[in-house]
Symmetry: C2
Subunit: 409 residues, 2 copies
Amino acid sequence: MVLSGNGVVAQSGGPTAVINNSVCGVVQEWWKKQLQGTLYGAVNGIEGILNKDLINLSSQRSEFISGLRYTPGAAIGSCRYKVKEDDYLKIINVFKELNIRYFFYIGGNDSMDTANKIYQLAKNENFDLRVVGIPKTIDNDLLYTDHCPGYGSAAKYLATTVLETSIDLKSLMTKNKVAILEVMGRDTGWLTAAASLARRNENDAPHLIYLPELPFHKESFISDVEDVYKSVGYVYIVVSEGLVDQHGNYLSFNKSTETDSFGHVCLGGVGNTLQALIEKNLGLKVRSIVLGTAQRSAMHFASLTDAEEAYMVGVEAVRMAVAGKTGLMVTLVREEDEKYYCLPGSIELAKVANKVRKMPSAWISADRKYVNDEFIKYARPLLQGEVPIPICNGLPDYVSLEDTKCRVS
Amino acid sequence: MVLSGNGVVAQSGGPTAVINNSVCGVVQEWWKKQLQGTLYGAVNGIEGILNKDLINLSSQRSEFISGLRYTPGAAIGSCRYKVKEDDYLKIINVFKELNIRYFFYIGGNDSMDTANKIYQLAKNENFDLRVVGIPKTIDNDLLYTDHCPGYGSAAKYLATTVLETSIDLKSLMTKNKVAILEVMGRDTGWLTAAASLARRNENDAPHLIYLPELPFHKESFISDVEDVYKSVGYVYIVVSEGLVDQHGNYLSFNKSTETDSFGHVCLGGVGNTLQALIEKNLGLKVRSIVLGTAQRSAMHFASLTDAEEAYMVGVEAVRMAVAGKTGLMVTLVREEDEKYYCLPGSIELAKVANKVRKMPSAWISADRKYVNDEFIKYARPLLQGEVPIPICNGLPDYVSLEDTKCRVS
């Protein structure tokens, strides 16, 4: 079953706090299986394969590899490159040239599409290649997996920020008693919904949560804010950057015309739009918070559960590939037990490629401005535990490939 | 020396992650000294005194009081109320009515002015009152103290965020390679400058730091950004919300007309202005991060050094008052030693009232777009250590007065 040859692991799309845990899992399992070939890391994802810009990961010092377990960002580099049709053959040719027989691709639904096409082309070419996808996204929008590595850490950081900034907001007696937190999430509200985990008592923040799954109505919004202000005395609003109006248009401030290389609209600024609405219609001052990429990189308060699962799916990918499996993505399967835990499973890449898993409407509250206990029950276990990180000079002491780099080409 | 009577402690202005440490220090030292009177907490700062909205702090459960050591926000409430001339007599009358002989006021330079006026009026009225100010501000802009409690924690969170988001930025190969982080600080750049602590190697982020102490030149800014982009490949910019142009006008986006009750301009939005400048002139995409009040409430990664000093100045305030001192603010005095430590000192309230301590120009680099090693040497020790916080359900388990509240009036 073990193919003689080399392997390559690549990271794709927006990094997460724990994406390097998956790389670490792949490398350490590669070592453990005592595979003879070299395990490469593709510098900046698929671009590293196209450009043969590869790092020998299997010869790295074990201290660096284990340091990946507490280091955010994409340690071997990531990209948002949209693979073109004629790139696929180039990729297969690079694999043939370097005798790469294992391809591990860490990413979201776009990346699973790329992985699937590489898998299909290799099959058509009768090139024996094991392709295994490793899920990763703070958006939590992949199908057929209970949740996605990266989500739990982003959710934990986000809910903590809501908790802390709402204590601040509540404790300061001013007119400035409205806060808007803008949350990442292009098409789905999974991360935005996680803000609800900060709430402990009925009147606690967040008070209003707006998801991209539901069209936004300005009039209802203004009256929602007014109602909370009157009954609670301050208002904490959490809103997804991907909020759309009844016509499906993004509410974001000034960037609706920009798109990335996948044709996805680049968002950011919806907080400004809502702030203006509140100030104009209710005369309340608003404080906006835009955490931006801190949401996906805050390893300093990441979820240990999430980090361990990100590591596990990396390990499992190697196990599956070595066992002869290909064309699959590793999944997380939640076990029915008193205590939460997940086991690894798998699904065909074709089934997750380019698909988006939206928040189930059954988990959105009837008044459409919050989530319900079913969601809380689902999400709470994903935030448990903290990742121990070494500290140097009062700041996290993350590892970097720069110090240990040995490029192949 | 010990006056027979009650005491009141109040929190003022924007909270910090560690402001409750000072309240805790006051209460625990009050208990330790076995003072006979009641120690009140003024609900929402000076407004609580004016309205006789007081909490009996000295009768609170010790578990709640010690929980203040890891709880952000202003636990007894804060305000931005501008004390009017005829309020001072009202305050003194409340003190007389309730036999309050000790007044501890935790705040910044505005609050020290208020404390000083109360002190002066009590003296004129021959009312024996001990007034001691306790420094607090993430802005770090009080004179005559080495630094201000609250600053170290904000600096630690900020530098950590720069470190993590810059690793994210660097690791993702896109055109989207410019980040702007907007930092709190109306008139001074102390907190903005602390972002420099994230840098470990020459080309590390942050690359450019703009302080309100120096007028901002658009042309130099654009060429600074271009230079870094060409030489490093990505640009991380940290900018104070209080940035002004050559004419002294705030650069902030759309709020320059708003003022708070002190007549201070309400800032926010300078990141948007700079983002537009870069996108228009250099065609680079920019990611903005606006941490907002998370900067002053992120207890989940606060500085232990800062928390301990905030506690110490609270303790010292009671010691000073009991020893008969009044009209003073507690200060932090850095000792000349191999190992960093501070001892408490004191200064007349009149000397710090309404004064602003700017960043020394000797600590700003010659090219005016960074800080130098003198600043780093000053700031680094203030970030050391992490505050241990209890966790419940994966999130910080902060205490709240709501559960234990026993209002006096």
